[in-house]
Subunit: 284 residues, 2 copies
C-alpha cells in the first residue's frame, strides 16, 4: 500500500511520510486533528496538516524544551506548559522530583483527549502532580501572577491563535506569572525558514527580561531538521545546567545531557546573527 | 508553475522541492546528473535523484567537512578531497593559507565540469593550488603513500561504487597515504536513518587509527537534517581546533567557528551510543 501524507513545510518545500493507517481524524473547535500510523516515525500527531510530534523523534524536542529550563532553575517546583496538548513536554517535566505541580494550559481539549488515548508512549497525564486546564493560555497566564518557576510554550507555528504567543504583551504577562528566579522557554521555529520571527521573539524577550538567549536542537520532522528555542530568565543563567542534580537523578535521556545543554547555546554564525549583541551578552 | 522534484530519502520518507528550471540533465558514465534551479534552495546538484548540495545550505556541510580537520591539524599543507566534485569542500580547504596543494580525486569528471559552469558560487577550481584528478579515489589513495596531511571523503551515499569508501581496506589505504599527524574525515550519513553504517565506519576507523571520533552538524537538505562526520587521526586530537590560527585568518564563515567545532563533538546519547566506549575515549 502506498499511501502518503504530505506537509507543505514552506511554500516551496514538502515532506511526505508513508502512512500505514489513519488512526484518528476530526475537525475540533480549533483545528483539524489527525493521528497517523507511519512506517518511518511510528504514530504521529498532525494539526492543520502540520506534523507536531512523532513517536520516533519526539524525544529530541521534548527533552530540550523541558530539561534546559528545569536544570537551569535552582529549584523548579511549579511548572506551567502552554500548548503541548500531546503531553510530551509535561512528561519530561514530571521526571524532575522537585516538581510539585505540573500544569498544562491547552486551548483544545480534544488534543489532550486524543493524545491520552492514541499516543500513550508520549504522555503521562495520570501523574498526580499533573493537571490539565482546557483554556486560553494567554488568559491563564494573565490570571496567575507570581505563580510558576518555569513556563514553557510548546505552541504550533505562529499562525492563527498562536500568533499572540510570540508577542511582547504575552512575554510581559509571562514575566508577571513567574516567581523569583523564573525561567521561560518557547519554541521559536527554524533558523533557516523563520529568521524574522526569531529576531522578533529575541528582541521582545530582551525588552522584558534581564536575561535572554537562544539555543538550538535537531528535530527531523520539522522543516530543515534544525529548531530553535528562545529562553529568558529573571535571574539564573539558562546556559548553565546543574550537572550535580542531573547526576543524582540518573535520567535515561536520549538527547539531553548537561554537555548537550551547554553545547546547544553554541550557535553557528548564521544563527547567532539572529540574536543582537545585547542579547548575546546578556546571558553570557 | 508547480513543478516539483522529489527525492526518496528513505523507503518511507520523501522530500520535495519546487523547481524553477532544470538547468542541466545528463546521464554520465557513472550516474544521472542534474542541476536544478529551485525556489527554496537556489541551484541544487542532484546525482541519481539524490540531493548532493544546494547554494542555500551548502555552507553548513562544506565548512564542517573542511575546517574541523584543517584547524585540528597543526600545519595542513597538502590536502586531498575524494569525491566532492561540486568543489565545495575544496573551496573551503583553499581558504587556509598553509595549504600548498589541494587535490581533488573525483571519479566522474562531468560533475566537476558541470559544477564549474553552473555552480560557480560553490567552487573555486581556478585557484593555482587546486588540481583535479579524474580518477578512482581508492586507487589514487593506494598509489600515493605518505603524501597528504588531511584526506577528506565527500562521497555520495554508500550505494554502488561509494560502498568501498566506507570499508576497512580503504581506511588502511588512507592511513598509509597520510603523513605524520595526518587527519582523515568522511561524511558518515544520518544518525537517525543509517545507524548501522555509522557503527561500522567508527569500528573500522578505531581498528586502523590511534584516534577516532564522531561529530555532527546540520544539513537541511539531507534526510533528517542532522548529519555525521567520522574523523580519525594519526596523532592530533580532532576535537581541538587551533583557535589562535582561526582568529588570525579572520574567515567569514557562516557555520564553523572553533566553539562550534568543539560543540560538534558533544553528542546526544542516541548518537553517542553509535560510538563504542573505546572510540569515545580515544580522542577525549
Amino acid at each position: 500500500m502506498e499511501v502518503w501524507f504530505t506537509e507543505n513545510q514552506t511554500q516551496h518545500l514538502r515532506i511526505s511520510v508513508r502512512v500505514r493507517n489513519i488512526l484518528h481524524h476530526e475537525r475540533s473547535e480549533y483545528q483539524e486533528l489527525m493521528v497517523l500510523d507511519t512506517h518511518e516515525f511510528g504514530r504521529m500527531l498532525v494539526l492543520d496538516n502540520v506534523i507536531q510530534t512523532s513517536e520516533r523523534d519526539e524525544f529530541a524536542y521534548h527533552e530540550m524544551m523541558a530539561h534546559v529550563p528545569l536544570f537551569a532553575h535552582p529549584n523548579p517546583r511549579r511548572v506551567l506548559v502552554i500548548g503541548g496538548g500531546d503531553g510530551g513536554v509535561l512528561r519530561e517535566v514530571l521526571r524532575h522530583p522537585t516538581v510539585e505541580a505540573a500544569h498544562l494550559a491547552e486551548i483544545d481539549g480534544r488534543v489532550v483527549e486524543v493524545a491520552r488515548e492514541l499516543l500513550p508512549a508520549i504522555n503521562n497525564f495520570d501523574d498526580p502532580r499533573a493537571r490539565v486546564f482546557v483554556t486560553d493560555g494567554i488568559r491563564y497566564v494573565q490570571e496567575h501572577p507570581d505563580t510558576y518557576d518555569v513556563i514553557i510554550v510548546d505552541s504550533t507555528d505562529p499562525v492563527g491563535p498562536a500568533v499572540a504567543l510570540f508577542q511582547e504583551s504575552f512575554h510581559r504577562a509571562v514575566f508577571a506569572a513567574l516567581r523569583e528566579n523564573g525561567i521561560f522557554v518557547q519554541q521559536s521555529e527554524s533558523p533557516f525558514y523563520h529568521r524574522d520571527l526569531i529576531r522578533q521573539v529575541q528582541a521582545s524577550l530582551r525588552r522584558v527580561f534581564p536575561v535572554a538567549a537562544l539555543y538550538w536542537g535537531v528535530v527531523p520532522t520539522y522543516p530543515g531538521g534544525l529548531w530553535t528555542y528562545s529562553v529568558a530568565s529573571k535571574g539564573p543563567d539558562p546556559r548553565r545546567p546543574d550537572a550535580e542534580r542531573w547526576s543524582r537523578y540518573g535520567l535515561a535521556t536520549r538527547y539531553y545531557t548537561p554537555d548537550v545543554h551547554r553545547a546547544a547555546f553554541v550557535l553557528p554564525p548564521f544563527v547567532a546573527e539572529l540574536v543582537e549583541p545585547a542579547g548575546r551578552d546578556a546571558g553570557a
